[in-house]
């Protein structure tokens, strides 16, 4: 049947019953028959998310504050490089920021804490000891390398930090981003005049790049309302600080932040309208439910 009515046999030769989309039954239609029901199961744009503008803006706050964190760090470094700030001042400032921050962190943490305080203390001690011990070495580390090289390296590393920062789940900063930031800070710190400067710089690096994201994450999950304020604060700090050393840079930074927080979300929401993707029975079915409950 299907044999004697292959392609070439006219479809309207013997229209016996409607065409069915089955392979097992031999039908009186040619193999290349195109039915009216061809492509009827074609679907377009199922499950396309519609974003709300302000929600997106709120999310971009995280990116903005990370950028301005870098700005803050650079500000501090340049201040110290130009000698406006002494290392001791910075160290005191660091302590002054670290203790309340830790307190806040603990307070928000509530009852359930996975690490004992002793561990925190221990790691803090380790950190201090190592940084202090190594700071003379670090001091002499890059003296033979030219300054431009060092700047370029640290710029690249900071960029890598910004790009690889885990914005989606910033619980502890991802290792690559943190390492990149620390590498950059070591490079920068090694250009500073004294060993104590290096020490101060590194401690600030730890503060800005390692501890602050943890605190911010804690803030986001415990006190949702406070997140925009914190982000705004950091951004303001970044712009202001940079303004103190380099006004043009401050202008650029503020522009960048504005584009980042306002223009980009607008673009996303607009482009979302032009989305057009095809779905149909040929799509690979994805497994929605969580199967990990059977394992583990």
């Amino acid at each position: 049947m299907g044999a004697n009515s292959g392609p070439g046999a006219s479809p309207c030769a013997s229209p016996v019953g409607p065409w069915r989309k089955v392979l097992y039954a031999r039908q009186p239609f040619p193999d290349n028959h195109v039915d009216r029901r061809f492509l009827e199961e074609l679907r377009r744009n199922i499950r396309v998310r519609q974003y709300r503008y302000w929600a997106v803006v709120r999310e971009t706050g995280l990116v903005a504050q990370q950028v301005s964190c870098v700005a803050v760090f650079i500000t501090l470094w340049s201040c110290m490089d130009q000698g406006r700030l002494g290392p001791s001042v910075l160290l005191w400032a660091a302590t002054g920021c670290a203790l309340p921050g830790y307190g806040l962190y603990e307070m928000l943490g509530g009852k359930d804490r996975e690490r004992p305080r002793l561990a925190d203390l221990q790691s803090a001690a380790v950190f201090l000891a190592f940084t202090f011990g190594f700071s003379p070495v670090l001091k002499t580390l890059t003296e033979s390398v030219s300054t431009d090289t060092v700047y370029a390296m640290s710029a690249v590393m900071l960029l890598a930090h910004l790009l690889s920062f885990p914005y989606t789940q910033p619980s502890p900063p991802g290792s690559l981003s943190l390492n990149a930031a620390l590498f950059a800070s070591v490079c920068l710190a090694s250009r500073l005049p004294g060993a104590l400067h290096t020490f101060a710089m590194l401690s600030w690096a730890l503060l800005v790049f390692a501890l602050w994201p943890c605190l911010l994450h804690r803030l986001r999950e415990r006190a949702e309302w406070s997140f925009p304020w914190a982000a705004g604060l950091v951004c303001a700090g970044g712009v202001g600080g940079l303004g103190a050393v380099w006004p043009g840079g401050a202008l650029l930074l503020s522009l960048a932040l504005l584009v980042l927080t306002l223009a980009c979300p607008l673009l996303l929401v607009c482009l979302q309208r032009h989305k057009d993707n095809i779905h149909g029975p040929w799509d690979e079915a994805e497994i929605r439910e969580d199967l990990s409950r059977f394992l583990s």
Partner: protein
């Protein structure tokens, strides 16, 4: 066409392919009968077909067996068929399989899972040599994953041969890789004479991907050889209910779902046993499940199966389960049903078209739905309201046969040969108009280069210097005295690698 002949010709590894000279094959297929058949349809056009694909024996899979079986049936219908694929290890050069089916293992560089590297150009000399010396009229390329197939289409159009392409797989439109692949498919199919898909879903998919006119796309399903998937109720143990799964253990086959189903059902039914054949990266999932729920005695992982062992595994079970997430045409469930099992499968891709509803239970690709489906089938099995395996087999055996596939493919060839092959200017126009400015430009450039290269080759090594191959295929050209010598030679020279000096 007795059973003996068919069973003698199933699937390259099982058939006595290489060792059996065509002279011996003649005992299975007496010349007088073949002559009679031959005279029967002398008037019909004979084609000289070259099947091109990266995937062929010793590699195993759906495409491979499809090519092999189709070629055998076409030879039996009096066409001349040769197969071109790339060299596997030291299996290089020319080999003969059953009935003098000639296979060219061409020394092309393999890039990524058995697909050759493609520059659209470098494979021209070898393929041209094959096409010319075998006097090929139709080039039939298989599987959109195979770079060699696309190259062959490209060169065949350059040489002015008719082209047919069979697509065996489905593709999404979501991610970047599929976007690129679809663009390539568009390019290589836009001036192909005819396209064959294995199911209507696959046809829709291909038409969308390659932006084709649906009239030049035929649907010809795969087939299974019912004679080597026969039921055998004595093998199954009716004191318990056995669920059989035979598939590669990869994500696309939904092994994660299976990992969810096993504990669900095993906790409910205590006489339920799982028999899982196949190998793959997802095996670890099943092993973990088995560990966690202490099911070592009830879930048996058989590992990789040879094709000849599949039937022995199938007949031990009551229910055949298929959890694929995407399928163009699922041969596994047909094989399962042909062995008289109750088939439970996911409703994805072309699967709903494959079996009538009384033979298969379709479910959504979720653990809960599959479990529900299995529950009903198990209940039916318990109450004994299932038809006996022999009936199921007798229903299935007539559905998909290679002979039918061959007949329909033959018609496709006739159709393709009636169509003209585009000359270069028209082809360039088609490319420009069809596949966008950028890709169109690039590939029309490549087409011109290919054309010039062909000219160069024809000047360097003219066609009349290429010896016309002595036909060793097909019952009609095959049993002449001129053939016997050849047959003797060619199937004598089997030492692997030794019969090929590729410099």
């Amino acid at each position: 066409m007795g059973q003996k002949k068919r069973s003698g010709r199933v699937h390259p590894p099982t058939c006595p392919s290489e060792t059996q000279p065509p002279a011996a094959a003649r005992t299975l297929d007496p010349p007088n009968s073949s002559k009679a058949r031959g005279f029967g349809r002398e008037e019909r056009a004979r084609h000289r077909i070259c099947m091109v694909s990266d995937f062929f024996y010793p590699n195993m899979g759906g495409v491979e067996s499809h090519i092999y079986q189709l070629s055998q049936c076409l030879i039996e219908k009096g066409h001349k068929v040769v197969i071109a694929t790339h060299a596997y290890g030291n299996r290089r050069g020319i080999r003969y399989l059953t009935n003098g089916l000639k296979v060219y293992y061409l020394p092309l560089q393999v890039m990524y899972n058995q697909s050759t590297t493609t520059t659209c150009i470098h494979s021209l000399p070898l393929l041209r040599c094959v096409f010319v010396r075998e006097r090929v009229t139709v080039v039939h390329a298989h599987s959109s994953f195979s770079a060699m197939a696309h190259d062959a289409l490209f060169h065949a159009k350059t040489m002015g041969l008719n082209t047919v392409f069979t697509d065996h797989s489905l593709f999404g439109f979501a991610d970047l890789s599929s976007v690129l692949t679809n663009k390539l498919l568009t390019v290589s199919l836009c001036d192909t004479n005819h396209i064959v898909c294995v199911s209507y879903t696959s046809k829709e998919n291909t038409v969308l991907r390659a932006a084709l006119n649906p009239d030049i796309v035929s649907v010809i399903p795969n087939a299974v050889d019912p004679t080597d998937f026969t039921p055998d109720p004595s093998r199954r143990d009716n004191s318990k209910i056995t669920i059989v799964v035979v598939s590669r253990l990869v994500y696309r086959k939904g092994i994660d779902l299976l990992g969810g189903i096993i504990p669900e059902l095993c906790t409910k039914h205590h006489d339920l046993y799982f028999l899982i054949g196949g190998e793959g990266p997802k095996r670890i999932v099943l092993e973990e499940v088995r560990e966690k729920y202490q099911l070592h005695d009830r879930v048996r992982l058989l590992g990789a199966l040879d094709h000849k062992d599949v039937r022995d595994v199938l007949v031990q079970g009551h229910i055949f389960l298929n959890t694929s997430l995407t399928e163009a045409f699922c041969m596994a469930i047909v094989e399962g049903a042909s062995c008289g099992l109750q088939v439970v499968s996911t409703r994805v891709g072309g699967i709903p078209e494959v079996l009538p509803d009384e033979l298969v239970t379709l479910c959504e690709p979720t653990v809960s739905s599959l479990c529900a489906g299995l529950e009903t089938v198990i209940a039916r099995q318990r109450s004994g309201k299932v038809p006996p395996p022999a009936d199921i087999h007798s229903k299935v055996r007539t559905l998909y046969t290679w002979r039918n596939v061959a007949e329909r493919t033959e018609k496709v060839y006739d159709l393709a040969c009636r169509q003209p092959v585009l000359p270069l200017p028209a082809r360039l126009q088609r490319l420009q108009s069809h596949c966008g400015a950028f890709a169109g430009f690039i590939f029309s450039f490549l087409a011109v280069i290919d054309f010039l290269f062909l000219f160069f080759l024809q000047w360097l090594h003219p066609d009349h210097l290429i010896d016309v191959a002595v036909d060793a295929s097909g019952p009609h050209s095959c049993w002449g005295p001129s053939f016997k010598k050849k047959a003797k030679d060619s199937n004598r020279a089997w030492p692997p690698g030794a019969d090929t000096r590729h410099c």
